[in-house]
């Protein structure tokens, strides 16, 4: 029995468990109108409270597992986006939030805009919407965790409470 391999496998399992249970995310705005950004911020606030799922939004790319990116990537933001992505340690994942990040949205064809995030960095999950609801954004993160696990997306431990449950928009 290769003890080293047993040890490294066990360590990988712990890391995966930590990543799945407490993904640290960094947020980057590559030129968005801020609609998506305020909805991302709303996920931290008491109504959605994403931190109870272990998702932590914090400032430095060096400590992040996940990059949540919005915006159609302006020329100036492109270099900064690449730098942020490079600073993240492996394994790293990217969620593109909003129509602008997916296709350029209404800014498709504008002269100062690259167009979509996956022209600059590889994207794992796309969350469409203009802007997507906070529930949709959380769903995007949960789907990413499912991808990490290599299985179908698990149901979240406790669904976010919405005071207007009948108005939930289908994030798919």
């Amino acid at each position: 029995m290769n003890l080293d391999k047993v040890f490294t496998d066990a360590l990988d399992q712990v890391k995966l468990w930590a990543r799945l249970n407490s993904p640290w995310a960094v947020h980057f705005n590559s030129g968005s109108c801020n609609g998506c950004d305020i909805e991302i911020l709303a996920t931290l606030t008491p109504r959605y409270d994403v931190e109870r799922f272990g998702i932590k939004l914090q400032g430095s790319p060096r400590h992040a597992d996940v990059l949540i990116c919005t915006g159609p990537v302006t020329r100036q933001a492109r270099e900064r986006l690449l730098r942020v992505y490079e600073q993240m340690p492996e394994p790293k994942f990217v969620i593109a939030v909003g129509s602008c990040g997916i296709s350029g949205g209404v800014f498709d064809g504008c002269y100062n805009v690259v167009g979509c995030i996956d022209k600059v960095i590889p994207v794992d999950v796309y969350v469409p919407g203009c802007p997507p609801r906070p529930e949709a954004i959380i769903d995007g993160v949960v789907k990413l965790l499912g991808k990490l696990q290599g299985a179908a997306a698990p149901k979240p431990a406790a669904a976010p409470e919405s005071s207007k449950a009948e108005v939930v928009h289908d994030p798919a």
Binding site: T74, R75, Q76, S103, G104, D108, G109, Y111, N112, G115
Partner: protein, 164 residues
């Protein structure tokens, strides 16, 4: 502060329009009234500083915006509009300049906050604003090619890549 009723607004606007015409009217090239609350004053670039000084000294309103206009490649001209507002009245100073080597004087010595507007004018239209305090790019990327002015009509236009 209690809001004015529409008649009071109208009276105040008329008084303001009159005072603007008095202040500028004696030597401006042309004054047009495109709307009940607006006048357009056409000036040469040389008269611009004097006009702005006059408005500032008379404390007539405030500079709301500076608009650059490309009135067409065939016309051979560009136009710069300086919008001054006081309550509901807008006085627009209009200056036309040739497309080749377009230049207007800076008004920052009289209106310091005009510098961001002047920077935008320079990078979007290629208009030289002489003596502007910080002639660096404001909105356009550092790696944007020199000599390409996005808001000119003859600047290359990107078509949307996705069509319905």
């Amino acid at each position: 502060m209690t809001p004015l009723d529409p008649n009071q607004v109208k009276e105040r606007s008329e008084a303001l329009l009159q005072s603007a015409k008095t202040v500028l009217g004696s030597w401006a090239a042309a004054i047009a009234a495109p709307a009940p609350n607006r006048i357009d004053v056409t000036l040469t670039p040389d008269d611009l500083e004097r006009a702005v000084s006059t408005l500032v000294t008379a404390r007539w309103g405030y500079l709301a915006a500076i608009t650059g206009l490309d009135i067409g490649v065939t016309s051979g001209m560009l136009e710069v509009l300086y919008h001054f507002c006081s309550d509901a009245v807008i006085v627009t100073l209009r200056v036309q300049i040739p497309r080749e080597n377009p230049a207007v004087p800076s008004i920052c010595d009289k209106i310091p906050y005009a510098d961001l507007y002047e920077r935008e004018l320079m990078e979007m239209f290629g208009i030289t604003v002489t003596n502007t305090p910080s002639p660096t790019r404001l909105f356009v990327a550092e790696d944007w090619p020199e000599g390409v002015f996005p808001l000119r009509k003859d600047a290359p236009v990107q078509e949307p890549t996705i069509r319905a």
